[in-house]
Assembly symmetry: C2
Homo-oligomer: 201 residues x 2
């Protein structure tokens, strides 16, 4: 009995993930004009089943956004406190972010669309903006700490943060037209990290 | 007499530039919905005068695109042949591109909008696509040449090109919301060039 309940739970989770992944593709393709029917077709499930997992298109959207914002399970701010030197933590954070941008560019596009759409509820827009600010703050703090330990190049931390943030944003843009093909050219995080390396001349 | 003709010519050129700059701001703000009337208002000239310089909105658009594509007077390909080592030429090319992205983000946004709009004539779209390809080819060739002279880090040239291209694209995106404020944080090209620096460990 317990085993059947567990199996059912796993099946439900798998279906939820399948619907979310399909929604991510459909929203990326059609923007907010996408309907639950489009999502159900993409996921090869009935519309009724899709609604059993997500009460509305808005609920689906919100779930996608929450997924996009959880680059890692414990959140961006955990990188300020986890073990390791500032440089090591920055490298780990960036490798997660580069991978996420290259593997799921459509999620970031959705975040953008939601952020820029006039129909987005204000609280959702505020949530996305806040997430962007936390990202910049965490990066900035790790860079300043890394400059103190000589792991990170000197110079204006704001410029270093901007260079890294630009690179991440650009990856989404370049990946979107041909996501599968792009994965081949996705730069190794080591290349991007070189922007932060102290210079020995 | 000759002097008056010259003075008139200078005045005409100044007015043309003023209308173009106004158009660039208006198109960036309103997209292709912008009208000649919007442009004339922004430039503080009469609509009739604006039409004397540009026969139609399409003509204005085309002029803006041509301006955006001329990152330098002699074109991207000249960087393959000018004097200097591959590393020096790459540094020069990138410093021009970073400056252009940070100073005129709206021009690049217009290129994007034109490229993605279904109403764009095919030849214009092809022109923009071709310019993008030339940029990637020139970067790629300079990187390969620079790897041969040990000025550029080893590794997959396609990944290096992608990292640089992503950074440039991202600069436009980050600059657009607050262009004036952004100029303070625009990364020095030296930071971006570090991605290409050979590593000594």
């Amino acid at each position: 009995m317990a085993r059947t309940a567990e199996a059912n739970q796993r099946l439900r989770e798998a279906q939820r993930v399948k619907i979310l992944e399909s929604a991510s593709r459909v929203f990326a393709r059609l923007g907010r004009a996408a309907t639950m029917a489009d999502v159900a077709t993409e996921a090869q499930v009935s519309q009724g089943l899709a609604y059993r997992y997500f009460a509305s298109k808005e609920a689906l959207f919100q779930a996608l956004i929450e997924q996009a914002m959880q680059t890692n399970p414990t959140g961006l701010q955990s990188f300020l406190e986890m073990p390791g030197t500032p440089g090591e933590r920055l490298a780990l954070l960036l490798s997660r972010l580069v991978e996420s941008r290259c593997e799921h560019p459509e999620l970031y596009q959705i975040l953008d669309q939601v952020q820029n759409s006039e129909t987005t509820p204000n609280n959702l827009r505020a949530l996305i903006r806040k997430r962007g600010q936390i990202f910049l703050d965490v990066m900035s703090q790790l860079i300043v700490e890394g400059q103190a330990t000589n792991e990170i190049a000197g110079g204006d931390p704001a410029q270093l943060v901007t260079a890294i943030a630009a690179c991440l944003e650009g990856l989404t843009k370049l990946a979107l037209p041909h996501p599968e093909q792009f994965k081949k050219n996705c730069p190794d995080v080591g290349i991007i990290l070189r922007m932060l390396k102290p210079q020995v001349d």
